[in-house]
């Protein structure tokens, strides 16, 4: 298989940017969280590529950790989203500006 490391990393980079684009573009809170998940996934891909290059097990261990962190973050984040829905009755991020400097 003649896939270079650069290709793999480039793929990870493109997916990361797609996630970033989604975070910046969408107004729905859920979608923003989802886009953050995409970004983390792309980071995991980059780790695997690195591990494959050096024929090491460390990359895959890192993937496990990333996965665990993502799971924890999603749990807490969705709980927060539910609370915010109860507060603001909407999930529009543009409406949630209580931290604005008066």
């Amino acid at each position: 298989m003649d896939i270079s490391v650069d290709t793999g990393l480039l793929l990870a980079g493109i997916l990361f940017l797609l996630g970033l684009f989604g975070v910046l573009m969408r107004r729905n809170l859920i979608f923003m969280l989802l886009s953050v998940e995409i970004m983390m996934n792309a980071a995991a891909l980059a780790f695997v590529v690195g591990g494959a290059k050096w024929k090491n097990v460390d990359g895959q261990v890192m993937v496990l950790f990333i996965l665990a962190v993502a799971a924890a973050e999603v749990a807490v984040g969705l709980a927060l989203v539910i609370q915010m829905y109860k507060q603001f009755k909407t999930v529009d991020v543009k409406k949630m500006r209580k931290l604005k400097d008066e």
């Binding site: 975070v23 910046l24 107004r27 923003m32 991020v93 949630m96 500006r97 931290l99 400097d101």
Partner: protein, 625 residues
């Protein structure tokens, strides 16, 4: 006994320190302490004076070195007391008249809340003035000079709760400061040329270092003259003395009549060699004296506050002293200083008694008829006024003033104009002096007497009154005999005057003319103010009279020339560009704050966008830079 010289300035200094720290608790005793310290100094002066006269020390001079002040690169002034005849006369006047005035003040300032503070300041003043006249180098003299200026400021503004007194004190200090700065530059010139400020060394080396008429000696003596003009309130720096009358009357008597304002005269007399070597400057001294005595005399005639009359009169009489020094009549000038100290202090003390009797009223036109009510004050005041006006033969002022008038014409450095100025000045002096006497003491009594003088008033007044009459007898004119004690006494330290030989015959004639003109002046005032006394006179409402009343509008002149531009400049500079820089930093901060606080809008996407932009920037820097 001469080695007790150091005690003379030290006793008032110790008394000042004690009064400064413990005065409040001492109460009435602080006055006694002040009087006793100066009295002891006067006593020691008398003892030393007797010994000095009976068995004079070698060279006619006694010097007592206490210690060396500092030593920098060979410039080593010492704290050293130098007693020569000139210094002895000044010391005697300062301590003796000072003692009488201190005694008088125990009654004058009785009941005032600053009683101990007053005596502390007065003792400090006596100490400073003694250091001025006894110092052997110009640095010590300058120290005394500045210190008396400080005491003058403190004492003029003694009743500091009244704003006008503070203005008057500041004005006095600032105007004398102008002179002091010029004098300091003069001292720098002297150090540059001589390497030392020791007076005797300068006077001895001056003919070797400089030649007569050299530009250096011209500038040095001119600057010293400027200092003397400031301190002695001569033209053009005379405007502070009438305002200085805001202080208590004993202060005016001691500082602004007898001693501090004569410090200029002392300085010129001390540095006589320098002035002799700069004839232009010496002539300028005479011209300043002549002009001042006319200006001040006319101003004195138009005043209605009794203390202001005496203030202008002081300026005028010191003009006479300057005139004497300017024509080379050194001992005559010092003689006039001595007699003037006696009768002017007497007049001020008498005026103080009158003011207290008249419920602190100082306007002469509100007084009247005091002749019968407070006779001791009246008679002593009359003697003092007679001496001031130089009534012939019986008063001390006659001898001193006449000598000056004769020498202004007869000296090789005098001329007819100076004599005319002095002559007219004598007439004006008689006019304003007796105008003051007649308005205050004669006529109808307008107010009741409140405070009858007690012993502390009467005895100093009587002593000074007697002195005003007899003190002249120690120096009789040459044609009356050879009884010239003062000139002989001072001849050791001051140069002897050169007289044009032909003029000696004119002395009698000039004396007669002057005496007659003085008596005519007394008669004229008698007619106007006693015989045909009217309530108000047409000539007193005229514009010229008002011009004299305002002191020839010098205040207005200085206000427009000096004060107003300075105030205008400082107003412009209030928001100058350096201020703007510092204010601008604050404004810049606030502006940036406004701009940046708009990024904190609580909008999540903007924050994330910021993160993205930051990522781009960081990557760019890492990759391409």
């Amino acid at each position: 006994m001469l080695n007790l010289l150091w005690l003379i300035p030290t006793l008032p200094l110790i008394s000042f320190l004690i009064l400064a720290f413990f005065g409040k608790k001492m109460g009435k005793f602080s006055g006694a302490l002040g009087v006793i310290s100066v009295g002891l100094s006067a006593l020691i002066t008398l003892i030393i004076g007797v010994e000095f006269l009976s068995s004079p020390p070698i060279g006619g001079v006694y010097e007592q070195t206490l210690w060396t002040w500092f030593d920098i690169n060979g410039f080593a002034p010492e704290i050293s007391l130098y007693l020569d005849p000139l210094g002895l006369i000044f010391t005697f006047v300062i301590t003796f008249v000072g003692f009488l005035i201190h005694w008088y003040s125990t009654e004058y300032m009785d009941g005032d809340e600053g009683y101990s503070r007053f005596f502390a300041y007065m003792n400090l003043f006596v100490f400073s003035m003694l250091m001025l006249v006894l110092g052997n180098n110009l640095l010590l003299i300058y120290f005394g000079w500045e210190a008396v200026g400080l005491c003058s400021y403190l004492l003029i503004g003694f009743w500091y709760k009244e704003p006008y007194n503070n203005y008057a004190a500041r004005k006095a200090f600032l105007i004398t400061r102008v002179g002091d700065t010029a004098m300091l530059i003069g001292l720098f010139l002297l150090v540059k040329d001589f390497g030392t400020l020791n007076v005797q060394q300068i006077l001895i080396q001056a003919p070797e270092v400089w030649s007569v008429g050299d530009s250096n000696v011209f500038w040095a003596s001119l600057l010293l003259l400027a200092g003397a003009v400031g301190k002695s309130a001569q033209l053009p720096l005379q405007t502070w003395l009438p305002d200085a009358m805001a202080g208590p009357t004993p202060v005016c008597a001691l500082i602004h009549a007898a001693t501090m304002v004569t410090a200029g005269v002392f300085l010129i007399a001390r540095m006589n060699v320098l002035f002799e070597m700069a004839p232009v400057v010496q002539h300028l001294v005479a011209i300043i004296g002549a002009l001042t005595l006319i200006v001040a005399g006319l101003s004195a005639f138009a005043q209605n506050d009794i203390k202001k009359v005496l203030a202008y009169s002081t300026i005028s009489q010191i003009g006479y002293m300057f005139l004497a020094l300017g024509v080379g009549a050194w001992s005559a000038g010092i003689f006039h200083f001595m007699t003037h100290a006696f009768f002017k202090a007497l007049l001020f003390l008498g005026a103080g008694a009158v003011i207290l009797a008249m419920h602190h009223e100082q306007d002469m036109y509100k007084m009247g008829g005091l002749r019968k009510k407070i006779p001791v004050v009246y008679w002593t005041f009359l003697f003092g006024s007679a001496a001031l006006a130089a009534i012939p033969i019986v008063t001390a002022g006659f001898y001193s003033k006449d000598k000056i008038l004769f020498l202004s014409l007869a000296s090789t450095k005098g001329n007819i104009w100076l004599w005319i100025a002095g002559f007219v000045g004598a007439f004006i002096t008689a006019l304003y002096t007796f105008r003051m006497v007649f308005i205050t003491f004669f006529g109808k009594a307008k107010m009741d007497v409140e405070h009858r003088p007690k012993m502390s008033f009467k005895i100093p007044l009587i002593i000074l009154g007697i002195l005003s009459l007899i003190a002249g007898f120690i120096e009789l004119p040459d044609v009356w005999g050879d009884f010239t004690l003062i000139s002989d006494f001072l001849g050791g330290t001051l140069p002897v005057i050169n007289i044009i030989p032909e003029m000696e015959r004119w002395e009698i004639l000039l004396q007669v003319i002057t005496g007659v003109v003085v008596l005519i002046g007394v008669y004229i005032t008698w007619q106007i103010y006693v015989k045909k006394r009217k309530e108000s006179y047409a000539f007193e409402q005229s514009g010229l009279f008002n011009f004299f009343f305002k002191g020839w509008e010098f205040d207005w002149l200085y206000n427009t020339l000096v004060v107003a531009p300075a105030v205008w400049l400082s107003r412009i500079d209030q928001h100058d560009f350096i201020d703007r820089i510092y204010g601008g930093i604050g404004h810049l901060n606030l502006g940036l704050n406004k701009v940046f606080s708009r990024t904190q809008n609580g909008y999540l996407k903007i924050y994330l966008g910021g993160i993205a932009v930051g990522m781009i920037v960081a990557l760019t820097i890492v990759l391409f830079l």
